[in-house]
C-alpha cells in the first residue's frame, strides 16, 4: 500500500506547494499589471492584453492546484480518509499531510480566484 505504488511521499514541500502556487500567481499578476501601468502615461487606455494574460495564467495555476487537490484526495482516501490522524505510525503521518494538503489546496484555489477577480472588472490603469 503505502510507498509501494505511484504515490507521492508527502513532506513539508508538498504541503506548501498549493500556497506557493498562489504566491507565484499573485506576484506575476501584480508585476504584469504594475509593469503595464508604469510609467502611467495613458491611464485611460484599455489593458486588454494584460487582462487576457492574467486570465490564462490564472487558469494554469488553478489547474495546477486542482491536480494537487485531486492527487491528495485520492491518496488520502486510499489511506482511509481519516481527519484526526493522531495515531503513531507513518500512514497516519502521511494521511495527516494529505488531508492538510487538501485543505491548503482548497484555500489556495479560492485565493487565486480572489486575486484574479480585479482583472475581470478593471479595464485600464486608472
Amino acid at each position: 500500500m503505502f510507498g509501494s505504488s505511484r504515490q507521492t511521499a508527502d513532506n513539508l514541500w508538498t504541503l506548501i506547494a498549493p500556497p506557493t502556487i498562489w504566491a507565484f500567481h499573485f506576484v506575476i499578476c501584480y508585476v504584469v499589471a504594475a509593469v503595464r501601468c508604469a510609467p502611467n502615461t495613458g491611464p485611460f487606455e484599455a489593458i486588454l492584453a494584460t487582462r487576457w494574460f492574467i486570465l490564462a495564467f490564472t487558469l494554469v495555476c488553478l489547474l495546477a492546484i486542482a491536480l494537487i487537490f485531486r492527487r491528495s484526495v485520492v491518496e488520502w482516501r486510499g489511506h482511509g480518509s481519516g481527519t484526526v490522524n493522531d495515531e503513531d505510525n507513518p500512514t497516519a503521518r502521511e494521511r495527516f499531510l494529505e488531508f492538510s494538503t487538501i485543505l491548503l489546496a482548497g484555500l489556495s484555489f479560492l485565493a487565486v480566484v480572489f486575486t484574479a477577480l480585479p482583472a475581470a472588472f478593471i479595464t485600464d490603469c486608472r
Binding site: A33, C37, N40, V84, D88, S108, T115
Partner: protein, 874 residues
C-alpha cells in the same frame, strides 16, 4: 602529526576544554559504562546520573551568571527585557493620551509629542511584539519538545545581547530629546532629508532597529532548526504540538519579511549618510520604494506578532476544555495559509498613494482572503470549547477576552481592506482603533493568558487567581472604553499623529473617554505586574503539571533542575502526559534516552524531519562571554555609524569580526573523543554529523535564504526603478560596461569551483590538495570582489548624481562584501584544517562553506546579469 594520529589521540581522552563542558569547579566523577549497560532501576545509579546532569546544565554562579546561554536563562532575560520595554512604551502611550485628553492641550510640545508617539509605536512593535515571540519560544519550544536545549544556545544568547543593546540605544534617545519623530514607518522624503529632520533621530531608528533585526533572524534560524530537528524521538509531524507548527511558520515568515526591511534600511541609510538619491525624486529616486520595502516587511510582521500569540491559545484551550484540539489539520491550514497570504497584503497600507486601481484590487482581494484562515482558527477554538467540558480559570478569562477583542479588530480589518472605505478612514483614528484591537486582542491578551498559564513552569509557583480576575476586568473594560471611541473620532475625521485639536469639533468627549479608558487599562496591566513582582517565597510550590495539561512542557518540576527533562522521551501521542501510560515516571527514572551526561557534556538528541527518527547526539556549547563581546562590538558598529564616527566604526567592525571568529573557532564543529555514543535502550548515535543531515548545515541554509531575500529586495529596487523611468539607465550615463562584470562572474565561478573541489578533495582524503583549493578559492574570491567593484569604478559612475549609478553601486557592493565573507570562510577552513579541527571524516566546516558558495554564485550571477545586461536589454 598526521590527521589519523590526531584522531587516534583524541579517542578515549577526556577533555575539559570542550565548549560543551561548562568550566565549573568540583566535577562529579565521569561514567565510562554506556547508558544501555547500567541498571537504571538502581537508585544509586540514578543519583549519580542526576548529579552529573545537574552539574552540566546548571547556570553559572556569581557574576558569571551573565555568561549563561541555556534556553531557560536566556529566555527569561529576553522575556523580562521585552516586558520592560513594553512598560516604557506604555508610559509613552499614556503621555499621548494625556496630551489628547482635552483640546488645545500643551502638556507636551509638538516636537516632543512626535518623538513620543513614534517611539511608542516603534518600541511596541520592534522591542516588544516581535521579541516577545522569540523570547517565549526560546523558553517554551525546547520544553515542549522534551529537548535539553535549542541547537544553538550561544546564538540565542547573542541575539538577546543584540536586542538589549539596540533596544536601550533606541529607547534612550528620547531622554536626550533626539528620538525619531516621524512615525514608526519613517516615510521619506520627510525622514531622508536633513532639512526636514535634522539631528540623529532617523539614524537612531534605522541603525538601532537594523541591529535588532539581526537578533530576529538569529532567532528564526534557531527556531526553525529547533522545531524540525530537535523533536523527541517518535514525534512525527502529525504529533507536533500546535505551538511548534506556529513557531515553524512564523520563523519562516521572519526569514522572508525582515530582509526586505534590512535592504530598505541600507538604501535609506546610504541616502542619509552619503546622499545617494534612492528616495529623492529630483535625482530619479522614488519614496514609494521605501513604502513597498517597509510594508513587505510591515504587513507580514502583523502576522508574525499575531500567530505566535494564537499559538499560545492553541495550547491553552485544549487543557481547559479537557480534550484534544478539534481540527488539528485545520489549525495547520490556518497557520500555513495565513503565513503565505500575509505576504500579499502589503499594499493595503498604501491604498491612498495613487497606485492604479488594478494593483489595489489584487491586494484588497488578498486582504479579504486572509480572513478565511484567520477565521478558521477562531472556529477551531470555539468548537474545541463546545465539545469539551470547560474549566473556567484566569488563563481562560484572558483567552475569551482575546477572542472577543480580536474578532472586533478583525471585522474592522475587513472594512479597511476595501479600498473605497479605506480612502475615507485612511490615516484617521479609525485605523488607530483597528490596529490596537488587532494587536491587543490578538497579541497582548493571549500573552497575559500565557503568563498565567505557564507561570508555574517558570517560577514554580502560581500567580494569584483573585488579582488575575481583577486585572482581567480592568484591562478588558479599560481597553474597550479606551479604544472603541477611536473608531468614532476617526470617522469624524480626526487624523492620526496630530499633536492637538481645537475645541468644538465634537472630538472632545471621545478623546476624554479614550484617555480615561487607557488609564484604567494601564492600571489593570499594573495589577498583573504587581502580581508577578510580589514576593512569593513564603507560598507553597505549585504542584507539578498544575493545570493537568497533556503536553511535554508540563514534565518540568516546580524545583527547577536546569536539565530540561530527566531523560528524552519516546513520543507516541499528541498529548503524551494524558495518553502514554506511566509516562512521567518513565521520564523521571531515566528509562528513555540520554539519562546521563557520562562525559560531563551538554547533549541533546537530533532527529529526522518527518518521523523524528533519532540521528545524532548533538553536543551544545555551554556558558561563554564571547557572545556578549560579539554583540557588544557589533552594537558599537551600528552606534558609531549613527554618529558618523567612521574610524571607530571600522575598528569596532574588526573587533566584532574577531569576536565572532573566536566564538565560532572555539565553540563549533568540535571533533568528539569517540564516533558514537550509547544513549540508552540499546541505541548508539553518532556524535558528529556533517552535510545536509547536520543542524549547522541547516542553519547555514536558512541564514542564506534570509540573506538571499535581502539581496532580491535590492534587485527588486533596481527593477522598480527600471519600470518607473521611461529610460533607464538615463540618457548620458554609461553602465558599468561588460568587461569587469563578466570577468568578476568568471572569477566567482572559479572560486565556487575551488570551494566545491576543496570539499570533495578533503572528503576523499587529499588533504593537501584540499588546502590548496581553499587558499586559491579564498584569493579568487577576493579578486572577484575587486573585479565587480571595478566595473562601476572604471566607467566613472557617480552614485550621488542619479539613482541609476547608486543602485548599480549598491548591488556591486553587496556582491563584493559577500565575496569578502566567502574568502574569510575559505581561509577559516584552511586554518581549521591546518590546526587539525577539520579532517576528511570531520568536515562540517567545509561542507557549510561549500553551501555558502552555492548561494554566493547565485548572487554573483544575478548581480552581473542585472547590472551588465539590463542596460543592454533596454
Amino acid at each position: 602529526m598526521s590527521n589519523a594520529q590526531i584522531e587516534a589521540a583524541r579517542v578515549g581522552t577526556f577533555d575539559l576544554s570542550d565548549p560543551a563542558t561548562p568550566n565549573y569547579p568540583d566535577p562529579p566523577p565521569i561514567q565510562t559504562i554506556g547508558a544501555s549497560h547500567v541498571d537504571q532501576e538502581d537508585p544509586a545509579v540514578r543519583e549519580a546520573q542526576a548529579k552529573r546532569l545537574i552539574w552540566v546544565w546548571e547556570a553559572p554562579k556569581g557574576w558569571k551568571y551573565w555568561s549563561a546561554v541555556n534556553n531557560t536563562e536566556v529566555g527569561v532575560w529576553y522575556t523580562s527585557t521585552a516586558f520592560i520595554f513594553m512598560l516604557f512604551a506604555g508610559v509613552l502611550g499614556l503621555m499621548v493620551r494625556v496630551q489628547l485628553a482635552v483640546p488645545d492641550n500643551d502638556f507636551l510640545t509638538a516636537n516632543f509629542y512626535n518623538q513620543v508617539y513614534t517611539l511608542h509605536g516603534t518600541v511596541m512593535m520592534f522591542l516588544f511584539a516581535v521579541p516577545i515571540f522569540e523570547a517565549m519560544a526560546i523558553i517554551l519550544l525546547p520544553e515542549m519538545l522534551g529537548a535539553r536545549d535549542l541547537p544553538f544556545p550561544r546564538l540565542s544568547a547573542f541575539g538577546y545581547w543584540c536586542f538589549l543593546i539596540g533596544g536601550v540605544f533606541v529607547c534612550g534617545s528620547i531622554f536626550f530629546s533626539s528620538a525619531p519623530a516621524s512615525g514608526w514607518f519613517m516615510y521619506p522624503p520627510l525622514t531622508t532629508q536633513e532639512r526636514f529632520t535634522p539631528g540623529y533621530g532617523a539614524d537612531i531608528w534605522l541603525l538601532g532597529l537594523s541591529f535588532i533585526e539581526v537578533a530576529s533572524i538569529a532567532a528564526a534560524v534557531e527556531l526553525i532548526v529547533g522545531s524540525l530537528k530537535c523533536r523527541p524521538p517518535g514525534m512525527r509531524l502529525n504529533m507536533m504540538p500546535l505551538y511548534t507548527w506556529y513557531v515553524l511558520v512564523v520563523a519562516g515568515m521572519i526569514l522572508f519579511a525582515f530582509p526586505p526591511l534590512i535592504a530598505g534600511d541600507i538604501l535609506f541609510e546610504m541616502e542619509r549618510l552619503f546622499n545617494w538619491p534612492f528616495f529623492d525624486p529630483e535625482r530619479g529616486g522614488d519614496p514609494m520604494l521605501w513604502q513597498h520595502l517597509f510594508w513587505i516587511f510591515g504587513h507580514p510582521e502583523v502576522y508574525i506578532v499575531f500567530l505566535p500569540a494564537i499559538a499560545l491559545l492553541a495550547m491553552i484551550v485544549p487543557t481547559f476544555a479537557r480534550r484534544p484540539i478539534v481540527g488539528y489539520s485545520w489549525i495547520v491550514l490556518a497557520a500555513v495559509g495565513t503565513g503565505f497570504l500575509s505576504f500579499g497584503l502589503w499594499v493595503h497600507h498604501m491604498f491612498a498613494t495613487g497606485l492604479p486601481a488594478i494593483s489595489l484590487g489584487f491586494f484588497s482581494a488578498a486582504s479579504e482572503a486572509v480572513a478565511i484562515p484567520t477565521g478558521v482558527q477562531i472556529f477551531v477554538f470555539l468548537a474545541t470549547l463546545l465539545v469539551g467540558r470547560v474549566i473556567f480559570s484566569v488563563p481562560m478569562l484572558f483567552v475569551s477576552g482575546a477572542l472577543a477583542i480580536f474578532v472586533i479588530g478583525g471585522l474592522t480589518g475587513v472594512m479597511v481592506a476595501l479600498a473605497p472605505f479605506d480612502w475615507q478612514a485612511h490615516d484617521t483614528y479609525f485605523v488607530v482603533g483597528h490596529l490596537h484591537y488587532v494587536l491587543i486582542g490578538g497579541m497582548l491578551f493571549p500573552i497575559v493568558a500565557g503568563l498565567y498559564y505557564w507561570w508555574p513552569i517558570l517560577a514554580g509557583r502560581t500567580l494569584s487567581d483573585r488579582l488575575g480576575k481583577i486585572a482581567f476586568w480592568m484591562m478588558f473594560v479599560g481597553f474597550n472604553v479606551g479604544f472603541f471611541p477611536m473608531h468614532f473620532s476617526g470617522m469624524m475625521g480626526m487624523p492620526r499623529r496630530v499633536w492637538t485639536y481645537p475645541a468644538g469639533l465634537g472630538l472632545d468627549l471621545p478623546n476624554l473617554v479614550s484617555t480615561i479608558g487607557a488609564f484604567v487599562f494601564a492600571a489593570g496591566f499594573l495589577v498583573v505586574v504587581a502580581d508577578i513582582l510580589r514576593p512569593r517565597g513564603h507560598l507553597p510550590l505549585a504542584k507539578r503539571n498544575h493545570w493537568n495539561a497533556g503536553t511535554l512542557e508540563w514534565l518540568s518540576e516546580p524545583e527547577d533542575k536546569g536539565w530540561g527533562v530527566r531523560s528524552i522521551p519516546i513520543i507516541t501521542s499528541r498529548y503524551p502526559i494524558w495518553d502514554q501510560p506511566n509516562f512521567i515516571d518513565d521520564v523521571d527514572n531515566g528509562r528513555f534516552y540520554l539519562p546521563d551526561a557520562e562525559e560531563l557534556k551538554r547533549e541533546t538528541i537530533v532527529t529526522s524531519v518527518l518521523d523524528a527518527k533519532p540521528l545524532q547526539v548533538l553536543r551544545v556549547p555551554g556558558p561563554t562571554f564571547m557572545t556578549m563581546w560579539a554583540a557588544g562590538f557589533l552594537g558599537a558598529v551600528f552606534i558609531f555609524a549613527t554618529f558618523h564616527w567612521w574610524y571607530l566604526t571600522i575598528a569596532a567592525m574588526v573587533l566584532a569580526t574577531g569576536a565572532i571568529l573566536t566564538w565560532v573557532w572555539r565553540g563549533t564543529a568540535v571533533i568528539p573523543e569517540k564516533h558514537e555514543k550509547d544513549v540508552g535502550r540499546g541505541l548508539s548515535l553518532p556524535l558528529y554529523v556533517s552535510g545536509p543531515q547536520a543542524v549547522g548545515w541547516w542553519a547555514m541554509f536558512i541564514t542564506m535564504v534570509g540573506d538571499g531575500t535581502a539581496f532580491l529586495s535590492l534587485v527588486f529596487g533596481y527593477f522598480f526603478y527600471v519600470t518607473i523611468h521611461a529610460e533607464f539607465p538615463p540618457p548620458g550615463i554609461e553602465g558599468p560596461g561588460l568587461f569587469w562584470p563578466l570577468a568578476a562572474l568568471a572569477v566567482f565561478a572559479l572560486a565556487w569551483g575551488l570551494a566545491f573541489a576543496a570539499r570533495s578533495l578533503n572528503k576523499a582524503g587529499s588533504v593537501t590538495s584540499a588546502r590548496l583549493a581553499m587558499a586559491a578559492g579564498g584569493l579568487a574570491a577576493l579578486l572577484a570582489g575587486a573585479f565587480v567593484l571595478l566595473g562601476p569604478h572604471t566607467t566613472g559612475l557617480d552614485p550621488v548624481t542619479h539613482v541609476y549609478p547608486a543602485t548599480v553601486w549598491i548591488l556591486a557592493i553587496w556582491a563584493a562584501v559577500h565575496a569578502a565573507v566567502g574568502a574569510l570562510m575559505l581561509f577559516y577552513c584552511l586554518a581549521r584544517s591546518l590546526f587539525g579541527h577539520l579532517t576528511p571524516l570531520y568536515d562540517a566546516d567545509i561542507q557549510n562553506v561549500a553551501l555558502y558558495w552555492h548561494f554566493m554564485l547565485g548572487t554573483a550571477f544575478v548581480t552581473v546579469a542585472t547590472i551588465a545586461f539590463t542596460p543592454l536589454a533596454t
